[in-house]
């Protein structure tokens, strides 16, 4: 069933209201966590479109976030435009990088694409030290955090304002991507993913579709990088290591590849699992070697366990649970309808 713009917008508005209420309740640090989840969502959603919907695996989106982050800082240094325009600009710069990377990537498949994007993730941050005058070297660049507008009051917490900006951006990205996925472009992505030759025969231009998917995901990563600057006020090569790109990919798969709701789960997991693991390790009094590494060990175990137990990711597991609950809640059906139910069982 095709979803329309009003429907997606309505979802976004509802979520927006819920988030607004939430930010009022949360402490400043937890608002920071929420803002982090929001920018992770933006990056993971873009990546899930590329990987889940279009079948291209990228290990380089952390570097594209870096492009967006540095662009945000440099634009803010140069001109004093409103933040929304700056973020749009950063997104555009990352999109241009995405065109270049995507054009190269369109010729590559599977592990070769993974290898090329991995090299991108490792090599691109080195530009900051190569051009240290312009890009700040290994120390990176700092900016002033965004100031909440005066009409919100003098004591309006900075972290809540940052959460608002990040969540608003996340909602806008959700609406745009949801529409893209349901549109003709989305069908093109999936057709190319499922069978390139059949797609070509059906008239889809394979390479252009793949580059488009790459550009969309790069633009999202760039915006996420800009939001990272909003939340942390920094752009530095140490903030965009290979592990960030890997983390984004794990967010995609943990949440459920190809689904935007999965991206939300994934983003939440990326922030919450390390936090819970850290709290767990601090609650036990352990030797310092064990305590320092326990959070990481738990994170590794969670990744393995989720993949073994719920291969479709959190979204698929939730959907199964919801379907199971709905079926259990329904009264026993008699006659033909019970047969109909059985045929509808998901495989």
């Amino acid at each position: 069933m095709s979803r329309s713009l009003p429907r997606n917008a309505a979802t976004a508005v509802a979520a927006g209201l819920a988030l607004f209420v939430l930010t009022e309740q949360l402490s400043e640090y937890d608002n920071l966590q929420l803002a982090t989840m929001a920018y992770y969502f933006v990056a993971v959603a873009g990546l899930t479109v590329l990987t889940g919907q279009n079948g291209q695996i990228s290990l380089g989106h952390g570097a594209l976030m870096g492009v967006g982050a540095y662009a945000t800082v440099k634009i803010q240094e140069a001109v004093s435009w409103p933040l929304a325009v700056v973020l749009l600009g950063a997104s555009l710069v990352a999109a241009i990088a995405g065109v270049l990377a995507g054009a190269a990537a369109a010729r590559l498949r599977g592990p070769y694409l993974a290898g090329a994007t991995l090299a991108l993730a490792v090599g691109l941050p080195a530009l900051a030290t190569r051009f240290s005058g312009f890009l700040g070297g290994s120390n990176g660049l700092v900016v002033a955090p965004p100031v909440p507008p005066g009409w919100l009051g003098a004591t309006f917490p900075l972290e809540r304002w940052q959460a608002w900006i990040a969540c608003l951006a996340a909602l806008v990205v959700y609406v745009l991507l949801a529409n893209l996925v349901r549109s003709g472009y989305g069908r093109a992505f999936r057709a190319v993913r499922d069978d390139e030759i059949a797609a070509q025969l059906s008239g889809y231009h394979v390479a252009r579709t793949q580059v488009l998917a790459f550009v969309v995901s790069a633009a999202c990563a760039g915006l996420a990088g800009g939001l990272l600057v909003v939340v942390t006020s920094l752009a530095a090569p140490g903030a965009f290591p290979l592990s960030l790109s890997v983390t984004l990919l794990t967010g995609v798969v943990l949440g459920g590849s190809g689904s935007l709701a999965g991206a939300a789960w994934g983003a939440a997991a990326l922030v919450l699992v390390p936090t819970w693991a850290d709290d767990a390790s601090k609650a036990l009094s352990l030797s310092s070697n064990v305590e320092a590494n326990l959070a990481l060990a738990i994170y590794g175990v969670v990744l393995i366990a989720v993949m073994l137990v719920a291969p479709g990711g959190i979204q698929a597991a939730v959907r199964r649970l919801v379907a199971f609950a709905l079926r259990a809640a329904q009264p026993h059906a008699r006659g033909p309808s019970s047969w109909a139910h059985q045929e509808e069982k998901p495989s």
Binding site: G115, L118, V122, G123, A126, T129, V301, L308, P311
Partner: protein, 292 residues
């Protein structure tokens, strides 16, 4: 001229290490079509075990043998216990499992041995050979490294081409269903593939350990370059891994020597992109290049 010689020899020595890591990734890919990101963690673990053996007083060669043996066992265990369950699942799932395993192994090593780097002995002297009255950037230990890796490559090529085990492994990888019908124990051969891959990685680990100092994160760079080398060579053949490793080792040595150490990762990106634009499935691939 002598600078060029130094950089070339240095590149060959480094390239042998990358080739060994690339080989381990190729073996696992050929057997089960999975990219094993946990390889860095597995080789780190076996190197730590070897270090513990040598540090307790045993001879270097016992430590060396222990590293290879524990690699064999570790590879088989990982495949049997963890990877078996994701072999049929989408490719991304296996990637995430190996990533989770990597994180877990690094955390466990940190818990057991802590973060302080350990000193690991070289098999032979590290003093460079004398060429024309001056010491070059190539030592007996480097020669040993190159010979051992080349020997391993040769042994594996012979294994695949000449033995029935190799034939069965190739059959299991390319046509698992037909192989099963013909009585080939496909699952066992997957395990063998992982075990052999892990041995190759453990070898790389003990060979590179003297110059990176053993600690949980010391082998991250070797994995990145090993992966890059595997992709350059094409993931299909041991020879591709060797050539990919040497090409990358040489290229990075020249970039570092003539350009500067800060350009090395960009150099790796450049080499990889250059190779993949000409041959999108690596140098030794058999697949057709896709026309864009």
């Amino acid at each position: 001229m002598s600078r060029f010689l130094d950089l070339t020899l240095n590149g060959i020595a480094n390239g042998a290490i990358y080739a060994a890591v690339a080989l381990s990734l190729v073996l696992v890919w050929r057997a089960t079509r999975i990219l094993n990101f946990a390889q860095a963690g597995m080789l780190m673990l076996t190197t730590f075990i070897a270090w513990a053996v040598v540090d307790s007083g045993a001879s270097y060669w016992i430590g060396f043998a222990v590293a290879l043996a524990s690699g064999l066992v570790l590879g088989a265990l990982v495949e049997r216990i963890v990877i078996r369950r994701v072999e049929g699942a989408p490719a991304l799932n296996a990637v995430i499992v190996t990533i989770g395993l990597l994180v877990l192994l690094q955390a466990l090593a940190g818990m057991i041995w802590g973060g302080n780097p350990r000193s690991f002995p070289p098999a032979f002297s590290i003093r460079g050979y004398e060429v024309g009255g001056r010491a070059v950037l190539f030592s007996p230990f480097d020669l040993f490294t190159v010979l051992v890796v080349a020997g391993l490559m040769l042994a594996l090529t012979l294994l695949f081409a000449r033995t029935s085990l190799g034939l069965r492994m190739r059959a299991a990888a390319f046509a698992p269903e037909v192989s099963r019908l013909l009585g080939v124990r496909v699952g066992d051969l997957y395990t063998v593939g992982w075990a052999l891959g892990s041995v190759a990685a453990s070898l790389a680990g003990v060979l590179v350990a003297p110059s990176v100092f053993v600690s949980p994160n010391a082998f991250d760079a070797v994995l990145v370059f090993g992966f890059t080398a595997a992709v350059i060579g094409g993931l299909e053949s041991p020879l591709g891994a060797l050539v990919g490793g040497l090409v990358l080792g040489l290229a990075l040595s020249y970039v570092s020597g003539y350009g500067g150490a800060e350009l090395v990762t960009l150099g790796a990106l450049g080499i990889l992109v250059a190779v993949l634009m000409i041959r999108p499935s690596g140098l030794f691939s058999r697949a057709q290049a896709r026309r864009v």
